[in-house]
Amino acid sequence: MARAREERCEALVVGSGAGGAVAASELAEAGWDVLILEEGGHYTTKDFSIHPREMIPKLYRDGGSAVIWGKPNIYFSEGKCVGGSTVINGGMCWRTPEKILARWASEGIAEITAEKMAPHYERVEKYINVAHQDPESLGRDNEIFVEGCRKMGWSVTPNRRNQIHCAGSNTCIFGCPTGAKQSTLVSYIPRARNVGARLLPRVRVEKILFKGGRAAGIEGKFTRQSDTPGEKLIVHADTVLVAGGASQTPALLLRSGVRHSQLGKNLLCHPNVKVIGLFDEDVSSYKGVHQSHQCHHFFDEGMILAIAGVPPALVAMGFPYFGKQSADLMMHYNNMVFAGGLVEDTGSGHVKVLGNGQPLMRYDINAADTRTAIKVAARVSQVLFAAGAKKCYLPFFGLDAIDTMDEAKKLEAADIPAKHIELLTVHIMGTARMGPDEKRCVVGDYGEVYGHKGLFVCDASAFPGAVGVNPMETIMALSDRFARHLADHREDFVAPKAA
């Protein structure tokens, strides 16, 4: 039997996305010996193209075919590559809203206040260059959305994004080919490597190793796409920081024998509802940034409205049409605005591990969130009609389009069963939630898994509840907080080096 490759480090980081890359970089800068493992491949700016059939299999887990099973099924996309989902996301950066922090504080997480988190946000915002868009990078679709919101009398806020003079090329979801989007691939990962952190891509971590009740490393394998497919890897580590996302992280912990009644539970998925508006004018949504504004006017009702330009292949996939109907509709691609909204979920699901070690996600949207999803579609449609749309295509089985503002307003009260709504998500969270109560929470205030010294969770799994906004900046700020706390307590985890 071939011998396993062995590595040694002080901090082993599993996952190179928003959480993992920040933790790795902070610890490396504090002088720790850091090794980052990433299951996906290592692609660079030059590798990114606009061709979905080439990029989706490379950058997305399961080729983009991941599903959260339930009523209805929710299609889930996450990145599987160095940089994780930060490579494929739209780059929206929002600090955790004060209303959310207050809710978390009421659940006992008193340390996560806006004031205490401010230094972490500032640090993250500096290292991913959070900024507003340059005006020339906005496209006509973004202008239409802003016009529509203003005509409805609804407040609209310009996004801040992690970007250096974004060109407005609208290729975010396939990796930024200009290098403007500051995913962790081009920010925290090179930052970490510049101070000595090592990176091994195409490694699947199979289980965490423990010694005397403490995390002691991992066992894994190089994937079949690597240069050494199937080669076993053992890493000996003083600390293990897991940042695989809210599906892979609990699955890894469960596979490794970590047991807690709440591990894998409290899955929140921030369901996303899409609406497509058809206009007479030439919108050419690909000419301009993916998303420049959001409408937070209904944030207290658990809704965010926005647009998000996508290529024709993805648009066509989303319509229920084929044959001549599909061709006739897609001839008007350049007249379309792709819009939608996010629902701050009040219900939750769970993640289990199958016999083959893979996670299985289960989530049934509850009645309240179903009503919110319908209202999101209705209100987005109203924005589009206010801006001049001739028709809005809806994500409802049996009601695929409406033609007037009046219909859009009546839609708010429509009784549509959950199973007839097409939902998707790119934000999952909560499956290893943090908090001071060991019985209700999987990890403590600084991400350490209760009962497992040296084992940390540094991703959205640790969120105590729904964050309501795009989660990337919250993930990064929490990870920054966890890592800096760990760095300040090095002596508790790492034996001093022999003189």
């Binding site: 299999p57 250096i164 003079h165 060109a167 690909y286 044959g323 001549k324 061709a327």
Partner: protein
């Protein structure tokens, strides 16, 4: 080395399905069925294991389901084109979730392949690559020095 994920019989069913789904009108008329079929078959490499198992079963169910759901002794792949369309439309609008999901899944992948084709993109006026080149150039002409400084700050090298 295995050339295809699906058996020859399953590929015949898939080809018939793709021939039914392929978008076509006066301006969009490209014979991309073989490419679409190969793309869907190849994409199985990325499926989670349970889908790799269920997908061929779903195709066989589609093939022989005409006996029950369409009252025809002809298999799906042997139906005339208008009947295939009506049969698939019935599955796409079925109240049975698995029937809808099969058509949705194959339609999604087949159309992903179709609308990624450069000829199709040109026919619908989607000229993204041209735009990217323009936007890239504009960005560098306007902000090159600021970009260089900010990237150096972020990555930890001195400006």
């Amino acid at each position: 080395m295995k050339e295809h994920n699906l058996s020859p019989r399953a590929r015949r069913v898939l080809h018939a399905l793709v021939r039914t789904l392929i978008p076509r009108n006066a301006k969009i008329n490209f014979p991309l069925e073989d490419d679409m079929q190969d793309f869907v078959d190849g994409y199985m490499d990325h499926f989670p294991s349970f889908l790799k198992f269920l997908f061929p079963l779903g195709l066989y169910f589609l093939e022989f389901g005409t006996w029950v759901f369409f009252f025809s002794w002809r298999r799906f792949s042997r139906l005339p084109a208008p009947d295939r369309e009506r049969y698939i439309a019935g599955w796409a609008g079925s109240r049975f979730f698995l029937k809808r999901e099969l058509i949705k899944g194959v339609r999604g992948l087949a159309l992903l392949a179709f609308y990624s084709d450069p000829q199709v993109c040109e026919a619908i006026g989607y000229r993204h690559q041209e735009w990217i080149e323009f936007a890239k150039k504009r960005r560098l002409e306007s902000y090159a020095e600021d970009i260089r400084q900010k990237e150096a700050l972020i990555r930890g090298k001195s400006a």
